[in-house]
């Protein structure tokens, strides 16, 4: 059975459009079979159809269940305020069970009596078996206030494909549709566009199931999708001219916040003068910018990342007060602002220091990959700003002032390597740019161990240091808590990693001190089994450098996306007790395009004992790759897994 057989697709397409009653199913629907090699598993979506109308949206969903697990394709979460819900379950012998939402559906509600109400409708169609077809249609009206579709729909993007293989996916748009609608085709998946009367049909056939392989990111997969959003009146004429469109967006939104609305006064001027005057004149623009940001972070609290103490201690009137990001004078008075306010202040400080700031507009890759040719302002209006400084001969060095107490120069990995807009505030012009990927050495975790071996337990001491993004992650994890609670959290985390360990001391240092990187100090013991032979874990409770999934599929279609480049080093000093010797330990050094691993062990006499020093280094240097690099990627993860599991084997000499 060829699933993309045009006959079946044509049959499905012909009858389904708004038809009532449901059209008969072609006999070939019952011949569909699982074919894991082609990604066809559990169920096949026969048709997914979205019809956009100005005051409602209509959906049709028809799915063929192929086995027990395929029943999951029939558990459908309807949007809030779905209505005209009806459908049927069809069996191979032609019997049907009809449903209409009044008897067979349950409504799951989260409700607060003070007025706010959220409502989700979970459809549980009756009669679903391991071999049936479920057909369902419903309509949806957007939030009533202000029109049928809320502005917040902005970048919400229904995908044409589904977790299951999809035979037919259609979007129907009328010519009088008042909202902006954009189709995002996949590179090799352009829709067939047809017109009939006022309707335009965008049709995809044979869409592969979404691939949720480990180390993949749906937003970077180029899934075909569409976006319905509000295009402001003033931007509509600029849609055909992307460069002008983006300049207008920046002028209207970002220039307002970073320039026109900025309010400064004596308090801010004093703060600015203090920070600027402290800059050593000999430093370059990048170093000066780093110092300015560090000074700002030291003095001003970023209320988007508060500690428990700060949150609880805020007076009631301030707790409810809205923070205006552009009001730098208020910021200087209260020494508090929002994450965006930190950006505006940093931008202003760079100007005050005589440096040339830039504004970067780069959506986080987990949300969307910026596309210059799709004029949709929602790509860059939220949480996408970076602030940069022009370095003569070296372009722009970017900073992420929203990351509280992050080491200067750290840009959130979700923006590294990603495209965006570089805004030059000299004339508020925009150019396309791509944020550089930081080097592996910029994101470092360093561990050192001292291990003593006893008859019934092994003792260990460990120190850990962090730099770059791992440092920020550690800080973010502990910063909100007081010291005692930080120690307790660390203890619990490590005990979870190392069952059977007794941790006698755990300490997190400098989690709330922006001038020093976060460190750990840990002491503990492990149960041991003295005997003729004993295995020694050189790095107890060492956090894994990379997550190693339990399961790898034989093949994958999605791109490989790693969180960030990094280096992890660990050194362990193991004192071998008398009466034991260490067998030969072959060093391991391997390398792929994703990075390198190395494991070495050297033994040296230390008085009457022997000290073995084990050193482990894992370096991840590449974070993006096509699916064609899957075998190499698996090899790399295998290397990381192998060295992190390696134990030291001691044998009794007598």
């Amino acid at each position: 059975m060829n699933l993309s057989a045009p006959a079946l697709v044509l049959c499905l397409a012909a009858g389904a459009h708004g038809a009532d009653p449901w059209p008969a199913l072609p006999a070939s629907v019952w011949e569909l079979k699982e074919d894991p090699a082609k990604g066809i598993q559990d169920a096949v979506v026969l048709e997914k159809r979205v019809r956009l109308l100005n005051y409602r949206t209509e959906f049709i969903y028809r799915v063929r269940v192929l086995n027990e697990a395929g029943r999951a394709s029939c558990q459908i979460t309807l949007p809030a305020y779905a209505y005209e819900v009806e459908g049927r379950t069809v069996y191979r012998d032609g019997r049907t069970v009809a449903f209409n939402g009044t008897k067979d559906f349950t409504v799951v509600k989260t409700r607060v009596s003070s007025g706010f109400e959220d409502q989700i409708t979970q459809v549980v169609p009756p009669g679903v078996t391991a071999d049936c077809v479920v057909e369902l249609r419903y309509a949806w009206e957007g939030n009533a206030s202000g029109g049928p579709l809320p502005r917040s729909l902005g970048m919400a993007s229904p995908a044409f494909d589904t977790p299951f293989h999809t035979l037919l996916s259609v979007l129907e748009v009328p010519s009088n549709y008042t909202w902006s609608c954009q189709i995002f085709p996949a590179p090799d998946r352009n829709p067939v566009t047809t017109k009939k009367g006022i309707w335009t049909y965008f049709t995809f056939t044979g869409l592969a199931a979404q691939d949720d392989a480990p180390y993949s990111l749906a937003s970077m997969e180029n899934h075909p999708e569409f976006v319905v959003f509000y295009q402001p009146e003033r931007l509509r004429s600029l849609v055909p001219k992307p460069a002008e469109y983006w300049e207008s967006v920046v002028d209207h939104f970002h220039r307002e916040v970073y320039s026109r609305l900025v309010r400064t006064g004596s308090s801010f001027r004093a703060l600015s003068a203090t920070l600027v005057q402290a800059l050593p004149p000999a430093l370059g623009p990048g170093e000066k910018a780093a110092l300015l940001l560090q000074g700002l972070q030291q003095r001003v609290r970023n209320l988007d990342a508060p500690t428990w103490e700060e949150l609880a201690g805020r007076p009631r009137n301030l707790a409810k007060k809205e923070v205006r990001s552009s009001d730098l004078e208020a910021m200087a008075d209260t020494l508090e602002t929002s994450g965006e306010g930190m950006g505006v202040a940093f931008f202003q400080l760079l100007k005050d220091a005589g440096l040339k700031p830039h504004l970067g507009l780069v959506p986080d890759r987990s949300r969307r990959v910026f596309n210059f040719d799709y004029p949709n302002l929602y790509q860059v209006v939220r949480e996408s700003e970076l602030v940069g400084v022009e370095v003569p001969g070296a372009g722009v060095t970017w900073f992420d002032p929203t990351l509280r107490h992050a080491q200067p120069g750290l840009v959130h990995p979700g923006k590294q390597g990603m495209p965006g807009l570089d805004v030059d505030p000299a004339k508020w012009t925009v150019t396309q740019m791509r944020v550089p990927v930081q080097r592996a050495s910029a994101n470092r975790r360093t561990f050192e161990y001292w291990i003593g071996l006893g008859d019934e337990e092994d003792t260990f001491r460990m120190t850990a240091g962090f730099k770059g993004y791992p440092e920020y992650l550690e800080r973010r994890q502990y910063m909100a808590y007081e010291g005692k609670e930080q120690a307790r959290l660390l203890k619990e985390r490590l005990e979870e990693r190392l069952k059977g360990a007794t941790l006698t001391r755990t300490e997190v240092l400098d989690a709330q001190n922006p001038l020093k990187p976060v460190r750990w100090e840990v002491q503990g013991s492990l149960e041991s089994r003295g005997g003729r032979r004993r295995q020694v874990l050189p790095f107890p409770a060492l956090p894994e450098t990379l997550w190693i999934p339990e399961h790898f599929r034989a093949t994958r279609t999605s791109r490989i996306v790693l969180p960030y480049t990094r280096t992890q080093t660990a050194v362990s000093h193991i004192t071998v007790p008398k009466g034991y010797r260490v067998g030969p330990m072959a060093p391991v050094t391997r390398s792929t395009s994703f990075g390198t691993v190395s494991w070495t062990a050297t033994a040296q006499p230390r008085g009457e004992d022997t000290e073995v020093t084990v050193a482990l280094t894992v370096e991840v240097t590449r974070i993006f790759a096509l699916a064609s690099s899957y075998v190499e990627f698996k090899n790399f993860l295998g290397m990381v897994d192998e060295v992190s599991r390696t134990v030291l084997l001691l044998e009794k000499t007598q």
Binding site: G127, Q535, E642
Partner: protein, 645 residues
Amino acid sequence: VSALKGLLLGLALAWTLAGQDLGKLPDWARSAAAAAEPAPAGADAWVLLQRYEVAYLGGGDVRVRRLRLVRILGERGLIERGYGFFSLGGRASKVQKIKGWNLRPDGELVKVDTVVTIQNEADKVVGTGLERVMKGSLVAFEAVEVERHPMGPTWDLGLMERHPVRTWELAVTREEGWTTDLKNVAVRVETRHFAPWLPVPAPGQGFTVSAVPPLPRDEGARPHPDDTLPKVNVTFLDPALTGSPSLASWDPYAQWYFHQFAEKQAPSKVAPAAAPGPLAALQAIHRWMSREMTYKQLYLSPERGWIPDPGPEVLRKRYGDCKDLTCLFLSEAQGAGLRGCPVLARINEGHVEEEPLPRPIFNHVIAAIQLEASLGLGAEVATAQGRFLLVDPTDRTTPLGLLHLAHLGRRVLICTGQGAVWVTVPASAVFQPVARLTLEGSVNFAGGLTAVLRISETADAMGLRQAVLALGPARLDAFLREQWLSVPPTGRLVVKRQGDPLDQDHPFEVELELYHPQGFTRSGQEAALVAWGLPPVPAQILKAGRKRQYPVVQGAEPRWEFTATLKLPYRVEPVLGSLTGATAFRRFQWQATVREGTLRVAFSQDRPEASFPFERRDQGVAEWNRDRSAMKTLLEDGLAFKLLP
């Protein structure tokens, strides 16, 4: 020193309280809030008062007033800013009031009186949350709910929770109105499992206990909380009450249940038997249901937790919970001329204890078919009311005539038209799970291991049938990797063959192709074989340095049989040639031989149920550690092989 410490803590507390005007709290909370003794060491929050006022209003209505006062001691104690409880919803309960007060250490008072309701498919939680709670806050909640439980005015309460409780109180009353006469209503307050956690309160219509300890944390191999933690049951015996089962004795309770099912049985005759006779008919129904029906819990009204849907409606939907599936099974059995009745059971979540009077203590419903003569099946039980065959229609992978291991030794209540019949499920009724694994393959000079692993699963010894049903056959490999076989990213696991998970007549068989690039790794003078096909080392059940609080309990586990035959490229000898071991939790045998370049391993283990009550819990931990150590030795030394020249 400790007295001085206590004094200093008391002074510190008094100083803190100085900023808090306790008069801002509701009356019931003021005296408890003024307590000046130091908080229990290490607590994140301290429940100063938890009080329940339970009043019977007549007609099955029970009003419960909940009063709670908590002092926030640390950041993790902030979880106490919210308060909620399960509620039946609909006609069965009405929350009349929820109020909250947050008296901050700086003297500010924050109040809330909004009700938040969260409902999922089977449960409903009602509660509220306070804003601006901080360390040092005194948080008080008051909630009033009137409940009409579909199973009658009976109410269960646990005492222990995440945080220590300074004072826990229960007050039970009958509250007559203008038109209600409750003189004939008896009040029953039963406590259980108080020792050794708390002193057993004196009988009466309420009591107060002090210093309720928090729930023990991080303890494995523990009994279900219902079997061991302090609980209270409040029941009102109202002879005038109709519409719910009588709680006066088990016989009318069982009869009520019998009629709930009998009224809803209507055969559809969907599964014609291949041969005449009751056995063929029951097998046909059971097999048809196993293939066509699925378990799903979806309650649209409060009583649906206890009352089944009619058989034909369950058939139409093709899904149902255990009651619904039992009702359908009984309907179809009736269509085949067989009489049956529902059986109330409790699995996985603690045992049904000897209960003199009824309570809704069950969590599962199965079926009993009355037999004129024995069918020769294991799950038959002979009782004073005749012979019954117990059938679990929810269990799709156990053949008719047997029950899942979860039923073993459990007391079940057969609900007949004549009354209650108690039965303990015997071992002969249980489908004994066995896992048999056979590994055959070879090792290359670089240590790469290529092998075929054949698994034969009887019952659901390894969870494979259930995994295929839940995840689909194409995801069995992922399940095996996650649960049973550690395969590195550079290794390979391919399912070459698998059986039908709903074939109840044969073991479920799976054949796997495996490759591990370091399956037989040299290190020093030894080589180590990957632990494929062997059970894991048991986890620790108590953190070092901690005092065990729970009893130690481990349920029966499937029998495990493993053999391996591997061709090796170089000469080795086993470090551990043979070992026979027995601990309280396990009996095992190990044998490894190498002859003419072929390694042969045979391992088997049985894990019977083992239990160490409170007074022997330390011994239980010691036995567990001995078992753990034995398995560690086995897996470290048994899989190590000495390299020979």
